[in-house]
């Protein structure tokens, strides 16, 4: 058995209002220790204003070989982007 405690994924929010970005993982026995370790390891130079830790076992990831199936369909839907539309000459602030 691994004696190095469970694996947790660490997400750091750089500034208040921003998104939490994955930055690595830590080993810890519980959430309090995971937070403490994440703070010690990943925020020694003001990198964070908030931390999330999540047990790695609860992360479900899409499979690399399914990437095409999942993301291809978005390729041919350019009408989802504002630049697709032709605006009348002279119209402002649109």
């Amino acid at each position: 058995m691994d004696t190095q405690l469970a694996l947790w994924e660490v997400f750091i929010q750089k500034k208040s209002g921003g998104d939490h970005t994955h930055c690595g993982s830590v080993h810890a026995s519980d959430s309090a220790m995971a937070l403490q370790n994440a703070r010690d390891i990943y925020t020694r130079r003001n990198e964070g204003s908030s931390i999330w830790v999540i047990p790695s076992q609860f992360v479900t990831a899409s499979k690399a070989e399914e990437a095409d199936m999942l993301f291809d369909p978005a390729d041919d839907k350019i009408y989802r982007h504002p630049t697709f539309y032709v605006m009348p000459e002279g119209a402002k602030q649109i």
Partner: protein, 309 residues
């Protein structure tokens, strides 16, 4: 799933300079090569804390002590980023540490040399971390995503390490005759082992072929070593240190320095376990790993009885 197809996609990603990620299909040897390289890198960061830790209690000022503590803490952090990256390849932290303890995994040879004086702390930061930075900057674009991302983070932090080391050397070189001699002595002892950090010459480098094909390695040992020498010589001159190599000479044609023969017999002797501190470094790691076992057990037991996420 069709494995030929999956391997094609591995090659296709490499060709397009896309990163390979942990869940991607990858050749077994690619995985093995990375585990060997990243774990060696991680072990080096952690073992490298020892020669510096040796001077915490004897740092010459409170300022110097704070800086040294922060630097050593960084090295521990770097080891942890790298262990995390390595674990994404499907090996556990326990196995990694076991490989270190059994001598199956290596760490950088440089840490088998002792830190004898305060000037050594300067030389380690300036030369050893300086050499490591040259290597790590090129690894920021390595093909395995978690390794590349760890390198980006590490490089951001390393430049403080190198500058604090150079500052120590500069301060000593502007001091008394005895202090200048200490600095030069440290330079003399750390210069050649620092050059050896880049590994054997390209013509004699056993792991390089595939590593280039797989874009794990982007620059050769000799290229990186040259880069390090070229930028360090000027820094030594500025503070009045002499590079301990009487064959060191500027080569106008290649726009770089030619250097004397590296003592590869010494390199082999040290890497095979017969350096001044091999046993001490490993014994120290084993002892503190074992001494900490009760903490891990207690934490696990506490989590067991309070199991809630």
């Amino acid at each position: 799933m069709n494995t030929t197809l999956a391997f094609n996609s591995f090659q296709e990603k490499l060709d397009k300079d896309f990163n390979i990620e942990p869940k991607d299909v990858m050749p077994d040897d690619y995985r093995k090569h990375l585990i060997r390289q990243i774990s060696q890198h991680a072990h080096s960061e952690v073992i490298g804390m020892q020669p510096e830790g040796n001077w915490i209690s004897r740092a010459p000022s409170l300022r110097a002590k704070q800086i040294l503590l922060a630097k050593i803490q960084d090295e521990g952090g770097h080891g942890l980023y790298l262990y995390s990256a390595c674990e994404t390849l499907g090996i556990s932290r326990d196995e990694l540490i076991e490989q270190l303890h059994e001598g199956k995994a290596k760490y950088s040879n440089i840490f088998n040399y002792p830190s004898l004086s305060w000037a050594d702390i300067g030389a380690i930061g300036w030369l050893v971390d300086g050499a490591a930075i040259v290597n790590q900057v090129s690894l920021q674009r390595t093909s395995f995503g978690p390794y590349a991302r760890a390198m980006v983070r590490i490089c951001k932090e390393e430049s403080f390490h190198q500058r604090q080391g150079y500052e120590i050397m500069a301060t000593m070189m502007s001091g008394t005759k005895v202090q200048r001699e200490m600095a030069q002595d440290a330079m003399n002892r750390w210069w050649w082992p620092s050059l050896m950090m880049f590994g054997p010459h390209d013509s004699d480098s056993p792991h390089s072929g595939k590593a280039f094909e797989w874009k794990i390695k982007l620059k050769s040992n000799d290229e990186l070593r040259q880069k390090f020498i070229d930028k360090t010589v000027q820094q030594a001159e500025v503070i009045g240190l002499t590079i301990p190599d009487d064959q060191l000479k500027w080569n106008e044609d290649k726009q770089g320095y030619d250097h004397g023969e590296i003592n590869w017999d010494e390199f082999k002797r040290v890497i095979n376990g017969n350096g001044p501190c091999n046993k001490q470094r490993l014994d120290h790691h084993k002892k503190y790993h074992a001494d900490g076992a009760w903490v891990r057990e207690a934490a696990a037991a506490y989590a067991e009885t309070n199991s809630k996420f």
